[in-house]
Symmetry: C3
Amino acid sequence: MRFDDPVPVTTIAQLIGAELVGNIEGFATGINEIHKVEAGDLVFVDHPKYYTACINSSASFIIINTKTYFPEGKALLIVDDPFEAYLKIVEFYRPFAPSMKMMSESASIGKGTTIMPGAYIGNHVTVGNNCIIYPNVAILDHCIVGNDVIIQSGTVIGSDAFYYNKKTSREIHYKKMTSCGRVLIENGVEIGANCTIDRGVSHDTIIGAGTKMDNLVHIGHDTVVGKNCLFAGQVGIAGATTIEDNVILWGQVGVSKTLTIGKGAVVYAQSGVKDSIEGGKVYFGSPVEDAREKMKELVWIKRIPKLWEKVMEGKEK
Amino acid sequence: MRFDDPVPVTTIAQLIGAELVGNIEGFATGINEIHKVEAGDLVFVDHPKYYTACINSSASFIIINTKTYFPEGKALLIVDDPFEAYLKIVEFYRPFAPSMKMMSESASIGKGTTIMPGAYIGNHVTVGNNCIIYPNVAILDHCIVGNDVIIQSGTVIGSDAFYYNKKTSREIHYKKMTSCGRVLIENGVEIGANCTIDRGVSHDTIIGAGTKMDNLVHIGHDTVVGKNCLFAGQVGIAGATTIEDNVILWGQVGVSKTLTIGKGAVVYAQSGVKDSIEGGKVYFGSPVEDAREKMKELVWIKRIPKLWEKVMEGKEK
Amino acid sequence: MRFDDPVPVTTIAQLIGAELVGNIEGFATGINEIHKVEAGDLVFVDHPKYYTACINSSASFIIINTKTYFPEGKALLIVDDPFEAYLKIVEFYRPFAPSMKMMSESASIGKGTTIMPGAYIGNHVTVGNNCIIYPNVAILDHCIVGNDVIIQSGTVIGSDAFYYNKKTSREIHYKKMTSCGRVLIENGVEIGANCTIDRGVSHDTIIGAGTKMDNLVHIGHDTVVGKNCLFAGQVGIAGATTIEDNVILWGQVGVSKTLTIGKGAVVYAQSGVKDSIEGGKVYFGSPVEDAREKMKELVWIKRIPKLWEKVMEGKEK
């Protein structure tokens, strides 16, 4: 998330009650998670396992629960609970303040675009030119839709990330990490009916130009989809995953989080992608393998009874 | 379903044209299906296979199509078609009479709760304090939502059960069993976009406190979900199933009806649960098995060609 | 798609800039794709592989990109790009002109039917008698719903087909084939919440009388479903497939395109149907096989370690 204007890091420190050490003169331009940070960003870290990665990231301002680091040119904001500090910043700079009209007055709608009845267009949403937004679609705050985009009925753009912090005080429970990212839908994208595309937690979920999706497709937070992909009905993609250009996912394929599917890969129906896979190949199975190898495997399985018979005969002789 | 006030069993008998035998002085407090009945309830049974279970259940009033039983302290309501009698009672005491406004005047909305535009709130719905109900959600008649609940866009709470009586007169067809149950959503539950949670047929579908669901999740009628569970995108759970506390179901998992998943069980993505499984373990596959065993099986399958080669060599020698 | 009135083929030729040869006196009554054409129809073909099939189909008027055929009694409309000519005809005779009210004035609603708030009923839609259309349903232009039909909240009837023409100029991209077909829902059908039923590309998607669907079910374009079928939650059926009467598909089943499932077939949960299957049998697996055989296979797989041990022992001796 970008702030509207750069914010002095001293102001942030005051907001979250942090001890500020290092470069205390800086201005923060936004807040982000570790995989997406840029210079000028705030980032938070609360687990020793990730301290070094966070310190060495591009982030300029690190909200942290230890005093053992002094990175040059950066500022540390030391607090007991960095996660709560993150929530406080997001809630202050991106407060929940939804439009109570179906069409927000702060939304911008391009020329030649049709917004059909029952569609909700939230605050600060931008929809480009020559789009069709069908009935009962919801495009939530801050999302951006390009030109020549079609979104069919019932689809939700910008639902919150499914992203929770596990807490184990007394009993296991989950605390929501407030989403402050957006969904960016590029030109020429077409999205089916009753799909859901979650906003990024603190960065953007992106659907690349020319990509087409069938109905009931789910795209998780911070996932980046390339150009001219095809996703058939009921495909589900988890969060923070990268789908490169020209990837084809057939019906009911599931894709796990934080992985990459290479350019031009094709995944057959009902398959499950749990690790990164190379582009230019065809895949099948749950978990996926090379489609031809997987098909052969199905034939091999059918030979077990014959094998059993031979081995038992051999034994009896 | 509870009646608003207890109803003399003689009134019920008259409504459905039943012959009344046994304790004819009683008052019925509700109507329920056999797995959920309590003292004071009406229940119906039309198949000899279930006569004994029904007679021995906690129900006080049994709608039945035989005269062979005389259970002490209970009343029998004898009719030719108990299923039709059940439908008549439900339609009389819980008639279809929906609100024709987006927000029913009989709904009760708590303090600090935001109901966004395009959301439909039906008759006798209760929503607690500090909830967010996003655009185009539908919460249908009689459902109850606790405090601090978030329901994202397009989700439907209280759709009818998928529950039909098979009829074979002339040709096979299906007659709907009218749903008169509710959905109860406890405090701190968060539900994603475009999910569907069916009401109970005659009892309640319950989502336990602190449970979080991603998008496009389906929960069947009369299913009871425990506290602090996590269900990832596109999970589907059939009817009358019990999910105990702290269960984690990853994306696209399917769960069959009338089974139990034990406390703290974890089920990997795309798996299928067709029978009850113990808590505290990790599962994979369709149908599921112990995840580690199932993973090993995938390795064993890859050894078949080598085995084949060895056995055939052995044979040739 | 039927034209409102028959159109002289000379008018069509002029609209698309075609050279007209053969029977130039005819009147076109509609436009269709090759699998669905009838006498009087226009059809288009742009690939030599399908020239003969198209010429020999029932179509009376063939939009084609070659001059090598002279079929008796038919007319050829010769153009460089038949696909673009098809789009031009559809856009001219079935222009995108949606209702901007939730209930179109050109819609026809039968007696005893309840249309609940937030439901969108498009232009030229017909809904029969004694139906219930729940909140936030969308029934899009030209779709037809019979009597005694229930459509639960959030369901979309008549979304566009997921049907694209692959273009490879410069880079691979996809051009939408404009849908001009309809959805026909016969009497007594009941459809769950947040389902999607696509319209036909140029013909009709049909749901047969008495069929019942659970929530989050997807039905593709031009698919024809028989009478008294049951589809459980999250079933997905691709385009142009035929499901005969009394078929039961359990939860999360996926069915591929342009195949046939025979009468009375039962497919177990999470299975995948990729080729046509006979009626009257029970299936399981992805891809499906006879359910009992598939179950046995699961047992055989568990015997591989024992087989391995025996063979290796035999070898060591």
